[in-house]
């Protein structure tokens, strides 16, 4: 048996990357990794019956692999290496690159721990960056934190045997890097298609804002403007069948409008959200125009069944459920489905300093925001002995619950929701069901409110969902399984404000670290770009003033013009012209020529040749 180097290696790692070292120690399960030994006695891990290095000559194999990469000089280059294996390839890479130019990513923490146990300390010299056992978005963000020198151009290389173990992981990670490189150069143009109405409507705004904050150019196709029209159709006939047909025709029209808008704006991606209008024909037209299509189905597939017949027409289908749904999607021919839970927008969902008057208006021991679904009515009737406030609509004929109902069941604005989350001692979050008598024992996904309450620093009691553990630990959120347990928890946490605060703070920290719409959009674009490396913005990347200065030379007249706009991000010709037109002082020759170029562009648009 070979020596175990784990503690020796971890000791050095503790000095620089404490969290990584702790995680490795926790994850280490020596018996779970099968090892083989080469002719020279070098250990090689076997995962899923595949050796991660050559069982005969791991060093020789790694030498050849590194040589085959045709790596550039180390002067201005660093490497992000996908896959740690047992680090034989790392030894070869270290012959070309100094340790501070190498970062290693390995999703399998257990394998990484085994590597640190099996290989001697000289294999892992000081200065290396390890990103181990982190989900793709976290891995990307950690790497970005480490890659701070803008002069160094980091290149991603993938260790093939490791990548084969986790192809989706590495594709997505590479996709995130690619998408964010595009963002740096002006970004993808993304059309976010909103539904006509409903609780998912604000998500379109959060998604748009997150994409723009990442450096892309997203806009919303605001279908809610057609909601009054749809309601009018419902009023014009009481015949349900006719109502349905008319709504269908309206939806078909609005779907066609998606194509028109996407073509007009030159979209690279069209992203539909919950119930936004699409038809198979429209998906086909968008594809034909080279526009990628994605849909984020942020609802319960069993309750809302319109995915059936439509999902397979999108390039990517993002869902908030696991369980049977993926298999059902596969059955209808939709293979590009990906789990992507909802999230919070910290710019909106945030702790507030409320005034006394606001505390009076919005505060209570116990509150709930949401529509009056059947299971909520059944549950909340049992909570009327508390200082309980019920916010939201669709609570008609709710009997004694009317005593708790606020604003006569009027809809709450997002800002007011945030105030309620902040002002309530306990925010009750009971996922809706149209037929359960109380808590749905088979509930799986988390609703947006789960993340939003936490992002506000509010304390919540949420009904137990099978997918909670994917997003929160027990220290970050408190869950109940039935009304009895709910009442116990309410009593307990009302009596222990310090515990509430601790959980709420931990929950907020977790949301900010992992569950914002920015995180989700990074992942979504990573998935899309990862599965489709050729995907590039149609309009090409837009240069920043700094890049134009580099191209033109800082001392050129163009360089000097652009210096005024440094730090303003990617530029369009139109935007640059507007800035020049609004500048004070004399118009120099270069500025006049930029304006002339822009006039040429406008002429082309007017004559419809551009």
């Amino acid at each position: 048996m070979n020596a175990n180097y784990l503690e020796l290696n971890l000791k050095r790692l503790f000095a620089n990357q404490t969290e990584v070292a702790q995680n490795l120690r926790q994850a280490y399960r020596p018996e779970s990794i099968e090892l083989r030994y080469s002719r020279e006695g070098s250990p090689v891990p076997v995962i899923n019956r595949k050796c991660l290095h050559s069982p005969y000559d791991p060093q020789g194999e790694s030498r050849k692999w590194v040589a085959s990469l045709g790596l550039p000089e180390a002067n201005h280059t660093g490497l992000i290496v996908g896959g740690l294996g047992f680090a034989y390839h790392l030894t070869e890479l270290l012959k070309v690159f100094p340790p501070d130019r190498l970062a290693l990513v390995e999703p399998d923490l257990n394998l990484a721990a085994a590597a640190f146990a099996a290989r001697p300390p000289e294999v892992f010299p000081e200065g290396l960056t390890f990103v181990l056992g982190k989900p793709t978005v976290q891995a990307y963000l950690t790497l970005r934190e480490h890659i701070t020198d803008p002069a160094i151009n980091f290149k991603v290389v993938e260790h093939p045997a490791s990548v084969n173990q986790h192809p989706e992981y590495f594709h997505t990670l590479a996709g995130i890097f690619r998408a964010q490189e595009v963002a740096r150069q002006g970004g993808f143009k993304i059309l976010v298609v909103s539904p006509l109405y409903g609780g998912s409507l604000p998500i379109a705004t959060y998604v748009r804002d997150a994409l723009n904050a990442l450096g892309h150019r997203a806009e919303i196709l605001e279908n809610s403007v057609f909601h009054p029209g749809m309601e009018a159709l419902n009023r014009w006939t009481s015949n349900r069948r006719h109502q349905g047909q008319l709504r269908g025709l309206l939806a078909t029209l609005l779907a066609e409008a998606v194509t028109a808008r996407a073509l007009d704006m030159g979209a690279d991606l069209v992203l539909g959200l919950a119930q936004s209008p699409f038809t198979p024909k429209v998906c086909g037209e968008l594809k034909k125009a080279g526009i990628r299509t994605a849909f984020w189905f942020v609802e319960d597939f069993e309750l809302m069944t319109y995915w059936n017949g439509l999902a397979q027409h999108f390039d990517h289908y993002f869902i908030i459920q696991k369980g049977d749904f993926p298999a059902q999607l596969e059955a209808v021919g939709c293979s590009q489905h990906h789990y992507l839970p909802v999230a919070a927008d910290p710019a909106v969902h945030t702790p507030l300093n409320l005034t006394t008057a606001e505390m009076r208006e919005f505060g209570s021991d116990l509150s709930h925001i949401g529509a009056g679904y059947h299971n909520r009515r059944q549950t909340f009737i049992k909570l009327l002995d508390y200082d309980f406030r019920l916010w939201g609509n669709d609570w008609e004929n709710c009997g004694p619950l009317a005593a708790a109902l606020q604003r006569s069941g009027g809809r709450l604005s997002t800002n007011d929701c945030v105030k309620v989350f902040n002002a309530s001692r306990i925010n009750l979050n009971l996922h809706s069901s149209t037929y359960h008598e109380g808590i749905n024992p088979f509930g799986d996904f988390l609703n947006p409110r789960t993340f939003e309450i936490s992002a506000c620093g509010g304390f919540q009691l949420v009904d137990q969902r099978s997918l909670i553990a994917e997003s929160f630990t027990g220290d970050e959120i408190a869950a109940f399984r039935d009304v009895k347990e709910l009442r116990e928890l309410i009593n307990h946490y009302l009596a222990h404000p310090e515990e509430r605060q601790k959980i709420a703070e931990a929950g907020r920290h977790r949301v900010l670290q992992e569950h914002t719409y920015s995180h989700r959009m990074l992942e979504m674009l990573g998935v899309i770009s990862g599965s489709d490396p050729e995907w590039a913005p149609k309009s090409g990347g837009l240069p920043t003033p700094e890049e134009i200065i580099r191209q033109a030379g800082a001392e050129s007249e163009l360089g000097r013009v652009m210096q005024r706009f440094q730090g303003e991000g990617p530029m369009t010709l139109e935007g640059l012209s507007a800035k020049i037109e609004h500048s004070n002082g004399d118009l120099n020759r270069t500025e006049a020529m930029i304006l002339l170029l822009n006039e040429f562009r406008r002429w082309g648009l007017e004559k419809q040749v551009l």
Partner: protein, 589 residues
């Protein structure tokens, strides 16, 4: 005398008709600068027409497709794309033009003028800071006329001619520009080979020997300008019954289907030539027809240029006072509908102005032109009142003018517009002695007024009074603006004094300008002076407050002078027409 220039660039990025309408200007420029080389910049698709214009020494094609291509993704390759723009400008700059005459009103042409930095620009350019600047009073008038179309009574050709006019040398210049030997006319030279091509096109047509050929131009750049094909067919059916008549139908390739429809309906008596002619062949064929019946098109101006009589049908946004056939004896038909002419920025869906003009009326006018009988002497019923029929002519100053072909009572609009034309002519020509003529009141318009019967409507007097009231209000405001400006000028000549007063004056001037603009917006007649004032203010450019104050004062003075002249000219109208009404109206001066 002004100095001679050797090389002049004329920029005209518009269409064929506009290019032909600039030919009198080209000749006037040549007369003033016989040695000068004229370079003419046009969009490359219109270079062919330039080859028929002998005054153009060199055509500079503006390559539209290349310009658009350079702008595509330009931001990503900005240094390279700017180099291409610079090369384009540099090539022009190396020509060493001493003068640019910009006949376009686009920002592209203004930027080119700005970048060329030649000693003199006439027309639209940009000032040092990149703001729009209109150089030359006639160019400034062009913009006024364009924004206030119904009050303008100058043909575009005459406005363009104004760019060759030198105010400081006005006697000689006026004669040279508007009264040259033989008068002004559009011009195009037909190359000899074009006649051969024309013969070739006609050789198989049975009607080729017809002694009375009439040309039809049924297409136009916009559907709103096209008299219906059925109307052309009805016209053609009637005309082919004239002894020896045959019809040639002209048009571009895009109009060939429309032309074919008309030709098929008329049988062997008509020949569809749409899409089959080069511009020089078209000119040769137009030279053979006794009359061209046309919408507002480039073909109309080409016919006028080769002295072929034109019966012009003006619909949609086309307004004959602006762009009617330049020359003597052409006839123009247009609507009297209140919505006519269409605003450039609207798209009409129901062409009522076309419906008003029946094939019967056009036939009658065409026959009169062919037989040279005046419209009101053909023994037929009077022409309907919902259409205007104009006959083109020149006034005693050599300016083109449309006269009513049928005498009708003078309307307020007709009088006001003739008066505006008179005042503007004097202002633009800068003739110091013209005031005396105006002092004689409407007698200065005696010749023009002979074309009308005396006004008859009871509302004439009250409407004239309303109109003059607006003029008086603006005059009063302009005089107070001038007084404030002069005070400002004197205050700013003394350093560090009267800051509060300066601020108060600035506020007063803003109030005066707002009041002037409001009256202008409500009275098109007075707006013809207010717009000029507004453009003048936009043109002001100086870092010296005192100088700016002086120039502003001059602009108020010019406005006051203009409206005052208008009032002097028209306010004796009652006596002039010996017109009295029962309301005993008084006109306040």
């Amino acid at each position: 005398m002004t100095t001679q220039v050797d090389k002049i660039l004329i920029i005209n990025l518009t269409r064929m008709g506009d290019i032909l309408q600039s030919t009198p200007l080209l000749k006037a420029v040549k007369r003033r600068n016989p040695r000068a080389e004229i370079h003419y910049m046009v969009v490359d698709s219109f270079t062919e027409i330039c080859r028929l214009i002998p005054e153009i020494d060199r055509i500079i094609p503006f390559e539209f497709a290349s310009a658009i291509a350079v702008s595509k993704s330009a931001i990503r390759y900005l240094p390279r794309r700017l180099k291409e723009v610079e090369d384009f400008i540099e090539t022009l700059r190396k020509e060493g033009y001493q003068q640019v005459i910009n006949l376009s009103h686009s920002r592209i042409s203004a930027l080119i003028c700005h970048l060329l930095a030649v000693p003199e620009v006439k027309g639209l350019t940009l000032d040092r800071e990149g703001f729009r600047q209109i150089q030359n009073p006639w160019a400034q008038y062009f913009f006024t006329a364009n924004l206030n179309r119904t009050c303008n009574r100058f043909n575009m050709v005459d406005i363009h001619l104004g760019l060759a006019y030198e105010a400081q040398d006005h006697h000689a210049s006026r004669r040279s520009v508007w009264n040259p030997p033989g008068g002004n006319a559009l011009s195009a030279e037909i190359p000899p080979e074009a006649h051969v091509d024309a013969n070739y096109l006609l050789q198989d047509w049975p009607g080729k020997e017809a002694p009375l050929l009439v040309g039809f131009q049924p297409g136009a750049s916009l559907a709103s300008k096209c008299w219906p094909a059925d109307s052309f067919i009805q016209l053609g059916e009637k005309l082919i019954h004239q002894p020896g008549a045959g019809i040639l139908i002209f048009g571009s390739h895009a109009e060939s289907e429309l032309a074919q429809r008309i030709a098929l309906a008329l049988g062997d008596s008509a020949l569809n030539l749409a899409g089959k002619t080069s511009l020089s062949t078209l000119a040769a064929l137009l030279n053979r027809v006794a009359l061209l019946v046309t919408n507002d098109t480039g073909t109309q101006h080409l016919a006028a240029a080769i002295r072929t009589p034109v019966l012009s049908l003006c619909f949609g946004s086309a307004l004959s006072h602006e762009t009617g056939p330049y020359g003597v004896g052409h006839i123009v038909v247009e609507s009297t509908l209140p919505c006519f002419p269409c605003n450039f920025h609207v798209e009409c869906k129901r062409f009522r102005c076309q419906e008003q003009v029946s094939a019967e009326i056009v036939t009658r006018l065409a026959v009169q032109m062919l037989t040279k009988i005046p419209p009101d002497q053909d023994g037929e019923e009077p022409l309907p009142e919902d259409i205007n029929v104009w006959k083109t002519d020149f006034d005693s100053d050599g300016f083109w003018l449309e006269r009513p072909a049928v005498k009708r009572p003078l309307s307020v609009e007709a009088l006001v517009n003739l008066a505006i034309r008179k005042v503007w002519k004097d202002l633009l020509l800068g003739a110091e002695n013209r005031k005396s003529q105006i002092d004689g009141g409407l007698s200065a318009l005696a010749r023009e007024l002979e074309d009308f019967l005396p006004p008859e409507a009871d509302s004439f007097g009250s409407r004239m009074l309303d109109c003059l009231r607006s003029f008086s209000e603006v005059e009063e405001l302009a005089r107070s603006g001038e007084t404030f400006s002069r005070e400002l000028e004197s205050l700013t000549s003394m350093p560090l004094t009267g800051f509060e007063r300066i601020q108060a004056i600035a506020e007063e001037l803003a109030r005066v300008d707002q009041a002037i603009a409001t009256i202008g917006a409500n009275s098109p007649a007075v707006n013809h002076f207010v717009l000029d004032f507004t453009f003048g203010k936009q043109n002001l450019e100086s870092n010296q407050v005192q100088l700016l104050a002086r120039q502003t004062g001059n602009l108020y003075n010019r406005l006051a002078e203009g409206v005052s002249r208008f009032k002097s000219l028209v306010q004796g109208w009652e006596g002039y027409f010996n017109y009295h009404n029962s309301h005993n109206l008084l006109i306040k001066s």
